[in-house]
Subunit: 462 residues, 2 copies
């Protein structure tokens, strides 16, 4: 029985899908510090205008440039697997499929947007990209992409991860990037923090501030900033995974999909798989679409839909999204890529609309699921991905209870070979489940006071 | 332009190729301690009889069981890539191809034989496999395979690697294997060493002794030993890579191959790619076939063709092979998988026959090549694989000098994400090139005194 469906180069999708064209209620604009909408020109020092145009585009289908396809062909189309060994152990009538994004050279879905962003920047004459990275997945992917395109790349890596995960830094350097611990003495923002807190472990918020500063203060004007999730153009680039998956499901003989699942930190791997199915749902299909997040960082399941900054230092515009507050510091779970206070505005809007039904899962259940997956399907997944697997297992069990032959698909967003410590702690019974006390949430939401409020308009059709 | 050629499930080779059927002079038998040929029955406590039959088979084509194919389909057929970005930087008229074996769940070619061995053992009623591992590639692969087949797996990992590479151990445990540092107190061999040398860093020789002992002393008789390279049946299972590659080269439109390259430690990844081309050479094709080894462990390029033990403790039969002597301790290069004193008897015989032309390359040139490969083709390769890449680059430069449009293919045997320390040392200029002083070689070859000598018969046709 076929367990792995491939596509040839000539079957790759040649356009990205832009959900912003089809949202029942239009996406609300990002706002500046004065409460007025941010104009494309205001973003010009940060991003190249060709990507800013994508960010604000309402076109449904956006052509993937031939040269970007050439870059993607190195590892795409990626396989869609049938999880028949997991199904057998669960004794479920459900058929479970997973899109395997772990086979990219950087080991995750991140290069899908990294190579596109690097290409658009290069087209625009940019010579150097600056970015931040937490656990290192995004920094590795952008280093890889810049290497292929001959761009310089500077990655500000959160100090504690820089010290704890030296191998990620080596990956980036092997691809020619310059990876430095943040806070650093290379930016005003970094120097100020270091003066006050010389031994700080750093934070994603500080690293974003340094990367944006490095971009906008380049005296030659040849540097821009690059972000690995959250924004519309990033999510757009990821839709290739969902579009490929639809072709592959068809080749598997599936006519209907019942459940679509992805883990959600900033939202891009979830959106990449899910948005082409969200379009089907808008057009009348019955599909359960589930972004999965950690119980300890419950952005979509416990936080309000608000206008908030994307970073702790409040350097970014205000985005309409679910947010735990830009001061929120999530507990130290191993899924570093899901430890984010906000969420992609596009994903947020699908939740407001009722098109998606988010779910939060505890860390230990995620690791239980990851170990079962490794011992059935054979792949050791990233801690982030384990949230998607845990939800898929929940859905497969539900299908068994209901006696229904459901079709479930999830995004296997990355392998876990660079993040094995969490598995060790799981085996040693040293992992914890963290819940977020209501009073802590309320305290963190105080950071939102005085900020504008987005409209909660929704069609109510789902 | 197509840079990655896939094959569908129905295009997978359904038979392995056994070069022993076509060698111009027959393979000489392994010998026991008494100097007499080892009989299949003598191997019964160590290996299951179905694998012993493969080990001694002279059939040219051996069917791959359907159930083994089902296991391989999880990641096979693997892609064949055209290295057009590397070609461009080298400005070579050569067309360079690489078989990408780094995409298996364990990250290398090793699972090709691990799943086959685990399956044959299970068929034979074996419940548990014991093996040794140095750097951890083979232990991980066998843990993966045993997990898929529901076999118990015990891996004796050389103490120094066990301590230096904790992530490999976590991989094995995630797949349910029991990984213990060797020497251990679980075997007589281990206890004796520990009594004498309580702080020994261990060695592959000791670990083999412990694994074989664990197999043959199981009171229930349900344990067997498994080896990841060197032996005929292991090499046989790897030929699927060369057979797939031939189909893929044809799809790329190539009618002729000029150069075939693989790194060689025990010889299995080299042989897997090369042996189907060796058959072409026996049948008259002009092909340069190059096993590549470290300059510091020059088995094929500097050692004699002898009868020697496969392990330091002299527990294995005597094999007819090139050997630096079973006492030889290679310098601490990063390509742990190539630090072996001997070589597959089949590979050795192709060298005796002049069918293959081995080459030794220094460590620093290998890392230079690996970094160039990462920054052109985008894949961070294992230190072992860097030897194949270095030779491919040498050959591409030679083709440029000669002005010839050669077709070069090499085996990308594994990714380097679990072995990044060597890259860091390369960037920090802390790597060394090690040559083997003639007097050290002569000292190590003393271990061969008194052992029987193999025939050096060769047809001299190549």
């Amino acid at each position: 029985m076929t367990v792995r469906m491939l596509l040839n180069e000539d079957e790759i999708p040649r356009q990205w899908y832009n959900l912003a064209a089809d949202l029942p209620t239009p996406l609300q604009p990002p706002l500046g510090p004065d409460g007025n909408p941010v104009t494309p020109e205001m973003l010009a020092p940060v991003f190249p205008m060709n990507l800013v145009e994508q960010e604000v585009s309402r076109e449904r289908w956006i052509d993937i440039p031939e040269e970007v396809l050439d870059l993607l062909y190195r590892w795409r189309p990626s396989p869609l697997h049938r999880a028949k060994y997991l199904e057998a152990v669960l004794d479920t009538p459900a058929r479970i499929y997973y899109k395997n994004e772990s086979l990219s050279p950087a080991g995750s879905h991140k290069p899908n947007t990294a190579v596109a962003q690097a290409w658009y920047n290069k087209q625009f004459g940019v010579k150097k990209l600056a970015t931040e990275t937490g656990a290192g997945q995004w920094g590795s992917a952008l280093a890889f992409a810049c290497s292929l395109l001959g761009l310089e790349c500077k990655v500000f890596m959160v100090r504690i991860s820089f010290d704890q995960k030296p191998f990620r830094k080596i990956m980036m350097e092997t691809w020619g990037a310059n990876c430095i611990a943040s806070p650093s003495d290379q930016t005003q923002a970094g120097r100020e923090i270091l003066a006050k807190h010389p031994h700080t472990p750093g934070s994603l918020g500080i690293a974003i501030s340094e990367a944006v500063e490095a971009a906008v203060t380049d005296p030659a004007g040849e540097t821009r900033y690059s972000l690995g999730s959250v924004l519309n153009h990033v999510v757009l680039h990821q839709t290739i995974t969902g579009l490929e998956s639809k072709k592959q499901l068809e080749k598997f003989g599936e006519k209907k999909v019942d459940v679509v699942i992805g883990c959600a930190g900033g939202g891009s791997n979830f959106a990449g798989l899910a948005f082409p199915f969200v379009l089907d749902k808008i057009n009348g299909a019955e599909i359960d679409i589930i972004p999965v997040e950690p119980f300890s960082c419950p952005t979509l399941t416990a936080a309000p839909f608000v206008y908030d900054h994307g970073d702790t230092a409040k350097m970014t515009p205000l985005l309409p999204m679910f947010s735990l507050g830009h001061d929120f510091i999530p507990p130290p779970i191993h899924a570093g890529g899901l430890r984010y206070h906000g969420m992609s505005p596009l994903v947020s809007q699908t939740v407001v609309e009722g098109l998606c039904a988010p779910r939060a899962i505890h860390q230990i259940e995620c690791y239980e699921s990851a170990v079962l997956f490794a011992r059935t399907e054979g792949i050791i997944i990233a801690p982030e991905t384990s949230h998607a697997v845990a939800a898929a297992i929940q859905e497969a069990k539900k299908a068994k209870e209901e006696g229904k032959e459901k079709v479930i698909i999830f995004n296997l967003s990355g392998h876990g070979l660079m993040d094995l410590t969490g598995y060790q702690k799981y085996f040693d019974e040293e992992l914890f489940d963290y819940a977020l006390p209501e009073e802590d949430l309320q305290r963190s939401l105080k950071a939102l006071e005085g900020l504008p409020k987005p409209s909660l308009a929704k069609t109510g059709r789902w």
